[in-house]
């Protein structure tokens, strides 16, 4: 519980500053510190237990089936890191109070810092590798926001994105590595992973695992060649740099090395990968640090160098090297954080970070200067400061390395070289900034000492540098001991931290580094010129141009495959379908099944020929829309004849009436379109389309043939047997429609009703420019409604309605039914529209067709719900025979009410479409307002129906 509290306190604390922001900045800062302070207290209280060699655990189940649990541990390593994270975090909170300008939101910074603190504590206290990754990724996310804190600066934005991309990518690799580990160990729990160390190292995928985990660690800790994001993360406010980019986040990578050390270290792979990466990073960082004119740039590269040094120590793989690595983590965090803060103060007071301008600060701010100088000397590794101790240990370990055989001398040599650079840039920091003549062109002049409390954090940290440097055994020893124990377990080496070991090789190396560094610094002018010529490149520009480049490539590629052409998309769809059918046909041993093909008789043949002519004609004549439509109707009519031929009168009737209604509606629609379509496709496309269409047609034909020649038994027998007894109707088709599968019909009439709604929404209020003449320039007839037609139509209306009633009523037993009857009624009404005009009809038939259509669906639905009353499922039918006098036996089925719904919907929907298209046409014969919209961008407006 206590461990959870340590993590949760800063998270809860993140909300506090927003509440106290209005009460002034100081109070805001104090309130922000409450959470971390309590967390620190908890850490302190548990320190004795940990120093005693115990490990505290806390287990909370989260996603047990994934193996991801909120299991925490507090061992020596976590404790040491915990102190760094919370302690330096508190100092940063104090520091930031004075650093940030009035216009910057303090609360936002504090909230993010505390979230970050929570995530960092999570990383170091996780007892579950996946949980560690969860926190790991949160640090990446929060650091994105922290680096981009001054979001109006381009550098900050780019730096933030770069950091996120690099550390995010590393995080993804780490996830993969953790999952692989889990496959071997069967758990993400650290205890289990440590115990299975030998198994992991012996496993065939160990190199992959190692590389993935190291990629995670190296990106986070800015190891070569991923170091480039760190200098650009310096666009963050300095408190953030001091906290994230020196003391904590970049240490997460080396923390991971330490954490996974028991499970992954101790192999050649580990040694070579980690040592050489660390070495390259150390040298690269140290070399570049010397040449940065930007204060924070120098510190950033120096950080990279020191991180490389720590990495290298872990790579060595000897027990003492691990101790030295952990020791250097502590030392680096203290002196580097104080240096960043000092740099921030100087920046704050002078308005610049350019060391070519900032000179002679000793005179203006001696207090700060003194502190910064001590910290810089610690960085250089001068005796009596903490940096010296760990550096000595590093040199000594480099000397004792024998893994490389005869090339082992390379390590002490390069270590000394890095030491030389390290001394040189530390000296540069001291000399350039605090001495070296007078300041040049400072934006703020004269600089003076910062507010009292801004310098307190630096004092604390520098004080620690001194304390650790002078009396290590009284201060840092227990931490180091406990942390090393956590990493090394039982193999704890005997070691002794002392300032004076006598004159030995490491000391001589230190001396050489000092002397070399001073000499190098004295030769700086020439070196700077050399560097400017050879090594100037801005990773930010490189990174940015790579991002831009990949975006452009992605855009070109996406535009290429998605050209927004309907024809292409349709062709792809059909091609895919053809491929599917083709694949199946390919696997077919023989096409035809055992059922014999019936003989061809002349009438069917004739029908087939006409059908083919109609279909081909439609395609060939499609440039002339009217002709194509007429030929299409031929296809439809033949299909209905085929239904007749094969004894499906219901289908034939339906097909016929659907055909009539659609052709009329399409004619109406054609009226608004050009009569001819231009020829737009080139030969290649025509060839492609012929091929596709041919393949699709032939494929479907073949598959149909294959199916029809297979023996067949289906559920339809049941329908035939139960239609009368169960559905109360002799017309099986109708009983299927309204009873057996009435639910389908309900769905389909809903489709009709929705279509009516949609078409209404689209057409209502739409104005189209209407053609005044046909394709050949002939004007429309002045008499659109010939009287003979009108008179005939009016006579026909009652007859047609009666027919439709007849069709409806007999529907359950003989061909007919609501759907067909509805269509017949529609045809009858359509005829009236055609004969007498929309206006004439509208005066007489003031129906709101949309409502009509919907009411039909309502009736059908309510009929279905009716069966609930009797305790049966939706749409359960019932029927009864009533004896009417005179008329005789009369059957009444509940399905009939359903069928009425169908009827009404069909009439409503078709009439709505017709009436609205007709209304559009009507306006061509009457003057229209001049403001009508062009038809290329039709406007949908709301209106009443």
């Amino acid at each position: 519980m206590m461990l959870l509290a340590i993590i949760l306190l800063p998270m809860i604390g993140a909300a506090v500053p927003f509440m106290t922001e209005r009460m002034g900045r100081t109070l805001c800062a104090y309130s922000a510190a409450i959470g971390p302070l309590i967390a620190l207290g908890l850490l302190v209280s548990s320190a004795p237990t940990i120093f005693g060699g115990e490990v505290l655990y806390s287990q909370t189940s989260w996603l047990p089936s994934l193996g991801l649990n909120l299991n925490l541990r507090l061992d020596g390593l976590s404790l040491m890191f915990g102190f760094l994270i919370v302690g330096i975090g508190l100092l940063v909170i104090l520091y930031a109070r004075y650093y940030l300008a009035q216009r910057d939101s303090l609360a936002k910074l504090y909230a993010l810092l505390q979230l970050f603190m929570m995530a960092m504590l999570g990383i170091v206290m996780s007892d579950n590798l996946m949980l560690l990754i969860v926190f790991w990724e949160i640090t990446s996310l929060v650091s994105f926001l922290l680096i981009g804190y001054w979001s109006n600066q381009s550098d900050a934005r780019k730096g933030a994105r770069m950091a996120l991309a690099v550390t995010g990518a590393g995080g993804l690799c780490l996830i993969a590595g953790a999952l692989l580990i889990e496959r071997i160990v069967g758990s993400f729990e650290l205890g289990a992973i440590f115990a299975a160390g030998d198994e992991i190292r012996a496993h065939s995928s160990y190199p992959v695992i190692l590389i993935l985990v190291l990629l995670g660690a190296f990106t986070k800790s800015a190891q070569f060649p991923f170091q480039f994001w760190l200098p650009h993360a310096m666009s963050a406010p300095t408190p953030v740099s001091a906290y994230l980019h020196s003391a904590t986040m970049v240490k997460a990578g080396v923390f991971l090395l330490a954490r996974m050390y028991p499970a992954l270290a101790g192999t050649e792979w580990w040694f070579y990968l980690v040592t050489f990466t660390g070495m390259a990073t150390m040298l690269f960082g140290a070399y570049n640090a010397l040449f940065k004119h930007d204060l924070k740039g120098l510190l950033a590269y120096s950080t990279i160098s020191h991180l490389g040094l720590i990495t290298m120590l872990f790579g060595f793989g000897t027990q003492l090297a691990v101790v030295a690595g952990i020791f250097h983590i502590i030392n680096h965090a203290t002196f580097k954080a104080s240096l960043f803060m000092a740099a921030g103060i100087i920046d704050h007071e002078t308005g610049t970070r350019d060391m070519r301008k900032i000179n002679g600060m000793w005179k203006y701010m001696p207090h700060t200067a003194l502190l910064a100088m001590v910290a810089a000397l610690a960085m250089a590794g001068v005796p009596l400061l903490n940096g010296f101790l760990s550096k000595e240990m590093f040199f000594s370990e480099a000397l004792h390395l024998e893994s490389m055989g005869m090339f082992s001398w390379i390590f002490p040599l390069l270590a000394t070289l890095a030491g030389v650079f390290s001394v040189a840039y530390s000296v540069r920091f001291i000399h350039d900034v605090f001495f070296n003549g007078e300041p040049i062109d400072l934006p703020k002049f004269p600089p003076h000492e910062p507010p009292r409390y801004m310098i307190v954090p630096v004092e604390v940290l520098v004080g620690l540098c001194l304390l650790v440097g002078i009396v290590p055994n009284l201060t840092v020893a227990p931490f180091l001991e406990a942390a090393s124990l956590a990493v090394l377990g039982e193999q704890m080496p005997e070691y002794h931290i002392a300032i004076w070991h006598g004159v030995n090789l490491p000391l001589i190396m230190s001396m050489v580094a000092m002397a070399g560094g001073l000499i190098m610094y004295s030769q700086r002018t020439g070196l700077f010129a050399f560097y400017e010529r050879k090594f100037r490149h801005d990773e930010k520009i490189v990174f940015e141009s790579r991002v831009q480049f990949s975006v452009r490539v992605a855009q070109r590629f996406t535009d290429f495959i998605q050209n927004n052409s309907l024809q292409r998309y349709m062709a792809l769809l059909i091609a895919t379908a053809v491929a599917a059918i083709g694949y199946a046909l390919w696997t077919m041993p023989q096409l035809l099944g055992p059922v014999a093909i019936s003989d061809i008789e002349p009438v069917s043949l004739l029908g087939a020929v006409i059908l083919i002519i109609g279909a081909f004609g439609t395609v060939l004549l499609h440039h002339n829309r009217l002709a194509a439509l007429l030929l299409l109707s031929v296809v439809g009519l033949i299909v209905s004849l085929i239904f007749v031929r094969y004894s499906a009168p219901d289908l034939a009737l339906t097909q016929l009436s659907v055909e009539v209604v659609t052709i009329v509606l399409l004619m109406l629609a054609l009226y608004f379109m050009p009569q001819l379509t231009p020829n737009e496709s080139g030969n290649k496309r025509v060839a492609r389309d012929i091929l596709l269409a041919g393949a699709a047609g032939i494929g479907m034909g073949l598959i149909t043939l294959a199916i029809l020649t297979q023996p067949f038994s289906s559920i339809s027998d049941y329908y035939l047997a139960n239609s009368v007894s169960g559905g109360g109707g002799a017309n099986v088709v109708n009983v299927i429609l309204v009873d057996f599968r009435g639910f389908d019909t309900l769905g389909e009439i809903t489709v009709l009703a929705i279509a009516a709604v949609g078409i209404y929404a689209m057409l209502n209020g739409l104005h189209l420019p209407l053609p005044q003449a046909d394709g050949e320039g002939r004007r429309w007839d002045k008499e659109p409604h010939p009287p003979i037609l009108a008179v005939m139509a009016r006579i026909l209306l009652p007859l047609a309605l009666m027919v439709s009633m007849f069709i409806f009523l007999r529907g359950h037993n003989a061909p007919g039914g609501g759907f067909i009857a509805g269509l017949v009624t529609s045809v009858a009404l359509i005829l009236q529209y055609v004969a007498s005009g929309t206006a004439w009809m509208q005066q007489r038939l003031r129906w709101r067709y949309r409502r009509v259509a919907v009411s039909g669906v309502l009736i059908a639905t309510l009929t279905g719900i009716g069966s609930w009353v009797f305790g049966y499922p939706f749409l359960t039918s019932t029927f009864s025979h009533i004896h009417w006098p005179v008329v005789g036996d009369f059957e009444l089925a509940s399905a009939m009410a359903f069928d009425i719904g169908v009827y009404i919907t069909v009439v409503g929907a078709t009439m709505l479409i017709l009436a609205h298209l007709g209304k559009l046409a009507q306006s061509s014969h009457s003057p229209r307002p001049a403001t009508s919209k062009p038809y290329s961008s039709p406007e949908l407006t709301k209106g009443e129906d």
Binding site: S550, A580, T587, I715, G747, V757, E939
Partner: protein
């Protein structure tokens, strides 16, 4: 008897009808009806989930006709979860819509409910042809919705949408005809039995039907090479509609899961697991192309639409892996991506309203008025959809990654999924920093976001946290779900042994 199973179909149907009959009534009444109805649907869906959680499969025989002759609705864990996901998404979309994003309201609300009827019906039905019917319902409703608000861009992408989907419907019909022509049944459970006992002559024909059906579902699900229409269509829809559309691809995915686990699943003899070998490469290509599109997108909404494609690729990969763990991961990820993509579309709308003429183009524009609030939400949403911890996307991604089994699966899935995540990090950090950080020195003249609408988005995004932090019951549910779904005999037995009530269909006596 309980009619709960059909309620998710009938409630929205009646609501749609009621809203249309009440056209012209004050907006407040229409909104209230619509909102009350969706609340009722959420309650019903929750009841369905609770009912299905124990593993019971409820069969509702429409018209009291025994399967396989009549149509059945089947509530199992899968269909219950899908319905729940849908109505929760609709709840937030409508919540957002009633805050002034629903004019002209008469058609929007009614058609949303018709759409819900279609979607819920598609999830619940146990009949292949009935599935087709519900596909039609949701197609026509979605087309109407797509045009909601008007404008040339919508008309154009809407035309692509409707024509391609109509062609898809025709293919569906062909596929259903082929399958009926061979098996003689439309009930999926019955069809599964027939397929399992297919003769060698029937096998290639069934293959044809199965693969053609896969094309149809692939079109719905936005699988490569059939997704190209999607990004434009989604990006041009109005916000609540675009959010609603996040369920549309999932319908195709659901259909793939259902049909290829039940009818052509592990127990289908010769035809067992016929789709998975095709799905696997297509899934990974979809994933890669979606991520590329997200990087390439020049507008925020287009980018989100590509994120939808990425999620489709991820889900298809999960389906193709075809094991319990993978299917469980797929369903978890499905719920997550549906809700979060929906939230992103709504959020994109709030953002673009505050960017003046720059709208949602990813270029320098005026500063967003509520930059901190909207930017913060965008940050969270982006983290969730990329799959950054501790949000639901991370959990889902982790589940899918760990479901890969063979070395080859592991290599391809991990490489592509993780690379896609990296591309998404790059793409979204780029668009986010452009929209909120790289701004001109002026704030666009815009109203503050409506509080209610903002609250809708916030609550929706908080689902990402809920799904993760309180994810254990969800994961356990999806595991049980996967277990059930991949044991098709459970479903088949439940349907085919369903007994209808006695006493119906006897007819009245002749007197």
């Amino acid at each position: 008897m309980s009619h709960l199973a059909i309620a998710p179909v009938l409630i929205p149907l009646l609501t749609g009808i009621l809203l249309l009959l009440g056209t012209g009534r004050p907006l407040v009444i229409q909104r209230s009806i619509s909102f009350l109805s969706i609340l009722a649907q959420v309650a019903v869906a929750a009841a369905l989930i609770i009912g299905a959680a124990g593993g019971e499969i409820t069969v509702y025989a429409l018209g009291n006709w025994a399967p396989p002759f009549g149509i059945v609705l089947v509530v199992d864990r899968l269909s219950a979860l899908m319905v729940f996901t849908t109505v929760v998404l609709a709840f937030f979309s409508l919540w957002y819509a009633v805050r002034g994003n629903d004019t002209p309201a008469d058609s929007l609300h009614s058609v949303v409910h018709f759409l819900l009827m279609g979607v819920n019906g598609a999830f619940l039905t146990g009949d292949l042809f009935n599935l087709f019917v519900f596909f039609e319902v949701l197609l026509i409703a979605s087309y109407t919705l797509l045009l909601h608000g008007g404008g040339a861009a919508r008309i154009k992408s809407g035309l692509h949408y409707v024509l391609l989907n109509l062609a898809g419907s025709s293919l569906f019909l062909l596929a259903a005809a082929i399958l009926y022509g061979v098996t003689g049944t439309l009930n999926m459970a019955d069809m599964a039995v027939k397929v399992a006992n297919a003769t060698p002559e029937q096998t290639p024909l069934l293959t044809a039907g199965a693969l053609l059906l896969l094309v149809v579902f692939g079109l719905k699900a936005a699988m490569v090479p059939l997704y190209f229409w999607l990004p434009r269509a989604y990006a041009s829809a109005s916000a609540p509609v675009a959010a609603m559309f996040c369920i549309m691809t999932k319908i195709g995915l659901y259909a793939i899961i259902r049909v290829y686990s039940l009818v052509f699943g592990s127990e289908a003899g010769e035809l067992a697991n016929i789709a998975q070998p095709f799905l696997w490469p297509l899934a990974l290509i979809t994933l890669a192309l979606g991520a590329t599109g997200a990087l390439a997108a020049r507008e925020l909404r287009l980018q989100i639409a590509y994120l939808v494609v990425v999620s489709v690729g991820t889900l298809l990969a999960g389906i193709a892996l075809n094991n319990v763990q993978a299917l469980s991961a797929t369903l978890y990820y499905l719920v997550h991506s549906t809700w979060i993509c929906g939230a992103l579309f709504l959020l994109a709308d709030l953002i673009m309203r505050q960017r003046g003429a720059t709208a949602d183009r990813i270029i320098t524009g005026p500063a967003v008025r509520q930059a901190v609030k909207l930017g913060g939400l965008f940050f969270i949403a982006a983290a969730a959809i990329i799959g950054m911890p501790p949000l639901s996307g991370f959990v889902g991604k982790l589940m899918i990654l760990s479901a890969a089994q063979t070395d080859q699966q592991t290599f391809w899935l991990w490489a592509i999924l993780l690379l896609a995540s990296f591309v998404m990090i790059t793409a979204l950090s780029r668009s986010g920093s452009t929209l909120f950080w790289r701004t001109e020195n002026r704030v666009a003249k815009a109203d503050k976001a409506d509080r209610g609408a903002l609250l809708a988005v916030i609550s929706m995004l908080s689902l990402a946290l809920v799904l993760s932090v309180a994810g254990d019951p969800v994961v356990r549910f999806t595991e049980a779900l996967a277990q059930q779904t991949l044991t098709p005999s459970l479903y088949i037995d439940a349907v085919l042994s369903h007994e209808t009530l006695s006493g119906a269909h006897t007819g009245g006596a002749h007197d």
